[in-house]
């Protein structure tokens, strides 16, 4: 039989196929290892950010992915704020940003250029407890204490929100100024969960402070 240049031998076939498979596997692995996506490359990136935390100006250079929570805990050693779920579902990471409570796990540090952050450490100290902290102690508003910094930051903010007239899901009359009731407190605190079940004592602590502020 005449062998023309167009015929490939079985050896060539096996070697060629193996090479093609190896190449596509290698390319696939490069995509995962080097971080290619169809849209481009993921570049490790550091940026500067400045914010005021508990009254002190902080300027940091951070991996762009750093959340506000990790900034506080890992970079500033402010470990009062806790990481519970890291997905905005438990509220243990609650801090005050420009006076408003947010979940610090669902915020990048870089989003807070120029902002004023207050953490539990900034609300009070052992020698000088914030009234809300004192009320939590008096009313036994915690057991393990893990959710507590988030609860206290939220509690302080909730009373401010009611004072500012922000309505809630349980407000009977949307137009009128919301009242401070047990139902209102419980609804507004629903973003802070407590596995130990200290809820009723937390609500009582808040009710005491609300009354004092009235």
């Amino acid at each position: 039989m005449e062998e023309s240049n167009n015929n490939i031998t079985r050896r060539e076939m096996i070697v060629g196929t193996a090479a093609a498979v190896t190449l596509s596997l290698a390319l696939g692995n490069i995509e995962k290892v080097a971080g290619f996506t169809r849209a481009g490359t993921h570049k490790l990136s550091y940026e500067n950010v400045s914010m005021t935390i508990n009254g002190k100006k902080q300027s940091l250079k951070l991996d762009t992915r750093t959340t506000l929570l990790d900034t506080l805990r890992e970079h500033l050693q402010l470990t009062g704020t806790k990481k519970g779920c890291d997905h905005g579902q438990c509220g243990a990471c609650t801090v005050l940003v420009n006076g408003q409570r947010i979940n610090s796990c669902l915020s990048l540090a870089l989003q807070h250029e120029g902002d004023e952050i207050t953490t539990i450490e900034g609300l009070g100290t052992q020698e000088n407890l914030h009234p809300m902290q004192a009320a939590f102690v008096a009313h036994d508003g915690y057991q393990c204490g893990y959710c507590t910094p988030g609860q206290i930051c939220s509690a302080v903010a909730v009373l401010k929100e009611i004072k500012a007239g922000i309505p809630s899901h349980v407000s009977q009359d949307l137009i009128r100024h919301p009242e401070i009731s047990n139902m209102e407190i419980r609804e507004r605190m629903s973003g802070n969960i407590c596995r130990c079940g200290a809820y009723s004592n937390i609500a009582e602590a808040m009710a005491e402070i609300a009354e004092k502020q009235a």
Binding site: K43, T64, G88, R101, N103, H169, M189, S190
Partner: protein, 316 residues
Amino acid sequence: MKAFTYQRVHSAAEAAASSYKTPGAKFIAGGTNLLDLMKLQIEVPVHLIDIGKLSLNKIEQLADGRLRVGALVSNTDLAAHQIVRRDYALLSKALLAGASGQLRNKATTAGNLLQRTRCPYFYDTNQACNKRNPGSGCAAIKGFSRNLAVIGASDSCIATHPSDMAVAMMALDAVIETVNPDGRTRNIPISEFYLLPGDTPHLETTLKKNELITSVLLPQAPGGKHIYYKVRDRASYAFALISVGLILQKEGTGHIALGGVAASPWRNRSAEKLLPSGAKAVTEKLLAGAKPTKENEFKITLVERTLAALLEEGRS
């Protein structure tokens, strides 16, 4: 999260242009949905354009009575605004029924519209999901589908849209205003904003590539009684099994939109015309053609009973 470069922009035009220049870029506003998904590598932008501090955060009433809500108005601010509470109470009630105080303080109007499904199979990157990974299949259809869609779904996807605010905006005939990189603006009625899954569940809205929402326009105050009823497994801090957004006028006519039943807030104007005839007539038309799973067929009865209760409440 996968690494990304980061940029702060100072105008909507700059934002849209940056997006155009950088394939794989995404806008970040509040970030309460985007960062959640980025932590799971479901969203993998290579570049983030931070629009959070643009001045798209105002609510202004126009001379003709319509209300323009900036894309960056927080959910809290929108729900608490005096004009919204007075004239668009449905919107305020819907917003307050969603999420938590912390999330509402950070989440934005446009971000709320654009938030993605909470279908557990979309979230679990070990599961087949055509929305997250086109062509991989849908593990939800034969899985735990209790929370998922009963209508407007397909063999590719039965995810629901999770937003309460969007249900109210659908009932209120909101119009979404946008800007494109070439500077051109566009108005998208919310009824034309959401895409149903079909064969392409990864495509969720009719927004063009690099198009940026700048505001949402609400029509003149509709009047009537506004009720948002959310049925869920907990009294608070849970997504809807179903929800009903209702604007009821004295004559018994009105607007109705459903949440928790489809990949979009669900509204049907011919079903709506049957409001004076009662819940059964409306539900039959509104959910005609529904293809529930065994696990979520209860939603159809639940819609009818909820609507019946609301009509009763509305008439009193």
